[in-house]
Amino acid sequence: MLKIKNLDVSYGKIQVIWDLNLNIKDNEAVGIFGPNGAGKSTLINAVIGLINNIDGEILFNGENIVGLSTHQIIKKGIALVPQKRELFPLMSVKENLKLGSAYIPSAKNKTDNNLEFVYSLFPILKEREKQIAGTMSGGQQRMLAVGRALMSSPKLLILDEPSIGLQPSLVTDLFKKLNEIKKEDVSILLAEQNVRQGLKVINRGYVLENGRIELEDSVKNLSSNEHIKKSYLGI
């Protein structure tokens, strides 16, 4: 599905990602764990073409997508739930959701089905479908951002720290939903600092520190890894 080879990413002259290799198989859920400033968002933004100062290869279903514009990459079947949500604050919940599929040729005729799926996953969004997005709580906006991404029928769903800013009970709820999404025909790339919750969703994970992959392993081995336990789980 996604294969990243020898990726370097820089902001101007400052290099942030160093020689990174990563791959995601079909229907696999992969985690990237790392502390503040490790480069998780930078990596994700590089994948979807929001940063262009890139060296290396990013293959999506075998095709190198480095150099394509974001809108071209999104149309190939990648959807993003950004760290800062990036909703349309003056539009209603439903309008936001519909924009999720409106500009994706392969998803346009699935709008009704996808809307139904999103509403069944997050009933609150249906209740509030007429509410203006900017007036919703942080948790609801996060659900809306996830819903909007799902509207495009993505083959790869990327989530950038979906837990950030949410109270613990909401995080637990949201990650349950992610497990439901996982049952659909979709691969997941989940960037998280909240490793404890993240491990409940993923099949395999990478640890990213200072822009370098320090560790890659199955969820089982990661859970028992000493470094993970000490630095991320506080055990």
Binding site: T70, I74, E86, S152
Partner: protein
């Protein structure tokens, strides 16, 4: 940016009250002001769109209007084409010209600071003015058509019918624009980009194309204005320049992105100016009143916000 459709009601009521008072006191000034104000509003509308969506204050805005004037003037003097007919080629030419200029210049400074953007549009302004100066010299030119001077008499007072068209056009452009933003695919994309460009990219919108589209079509709208204005306007290379600043003033007064507010602000300032002009020997004060009202509105708005 927002395209607020609500919130204009109270202002609208105030404006109507103001118009009734002026209408009783100085009916000619009311008509004159409505015409001027409508013109200001249609010229300001596209500037406000570019400002709201690209975040660029286009100091060359009024000079693109001048380009439209001269193009239509040339079609009239060479081929005897009626200015209203020339609106079609003028709009097309302005779209192509501004699109080309956008791709060569403005596109490259979108991510830079506002100072760079101002400098580049100021540069475009100078180049446009001087190019016109070279081709047509600074001699004033005009175009005569009969219909532009038709008049009717109602209850003992005579007024020109042609300028009343300005009001209709202003309303038509405003309605068309809002319809476009609400009901078309590209319009919704424009609306989305205005609210959150990054969000728009993420849902697969070609944001760079939307920017190009908004910039060039906004300038294209000036072709319509140029066609209607030319029969009543003597033109010279600097004729459009003052409209850049006045348009910015209206956009600021209406509040960024409030499209209806621009029509209301335009008409208010237009009538204000016309009233001053109608007082003998005080005509020269009209610009002071224009910017005076603007300053009061902006101060009172920031005062309200601060509270």
């Amino acid at each position: 940016m927002s395209f607020s459709l609500k919130k204009s009601y109270r202002l609208l009521l105030l404006l109507i009250l103001f118009m009734v008072i002026i209408g009783i006191w100085r009916p000619n000034a009311l008509l004159d002001g409505l015409q001027r104000g409508s013109l200001y509003a249609i010229i300001a509308l596209p500037l406000a769109l570019v400002l709201g969506i690209l975040g660029v204050l286009n100091l060359a805005h009024g000079d693109f209007l001048t380009v439209g004037f001269y193009l239509i003037y040339m079609l009239y003097s060479r081929f005897n084409l009626d200015p209203l007919v020339s609106i079609v080629p003028a709009v097309l030419f302005l779209i192509l010209l501004s699109g080309g200029i956008y791709l060569l210049t403005v596109k490259n400074v979108l991510k830079d600071g506002h100072l760079n953007q101002l400098l580049i549009t100021f540069g475009i302004s100078l180049v446009l003015i001087e190019t016109i100066n070279i081709i047509w010299t600074s001699r004033p030119r005009n175009v005569y058509t009969d219909y532009a001077y038709s008049a009717i008499e109602v209850g003992g007072f005579r007024f020109g019918t042609y300028e009343l068209l300005y009001i209709l056009i202003a309303v038509a452009v405003l309605v068309a624009l809002q319809w476009f933003l609400k009901n078309t695919r590209l319009g919704q994309a424009t609306f989305a980009v205005g609210q959150n460009p990054k969000g728009a990219r993420i849902v697969g919108i070609n944001v760079n194309f939307v920017y190009l589209f908004v910039f060039s079509v906004s300038i294209g709208i000036l072709g319509i204005v140029a066609g209607f204005m030319l029969p009543r306007t003597a033109i010279f290379p600097g004729v459009g320049s003052p409209f850049s600043l006045k348009s910015f003033a209206l956009a600021a007064m209406a509040g960024l992105g409030n499209l209806n507010g621009i029509l209301i602000a335009g008409v208010t300032l237009g009538i204000g100016e016309a009233v001053i002009n109608s007082i003998p020997n005080y005509g020269g004060w009209s610009d002071i009143v224009f910017f005076g009202v603007l300053i009061i509105v902006i101060i009172s708005r920031s005062y309200r916000r601060a509270r």
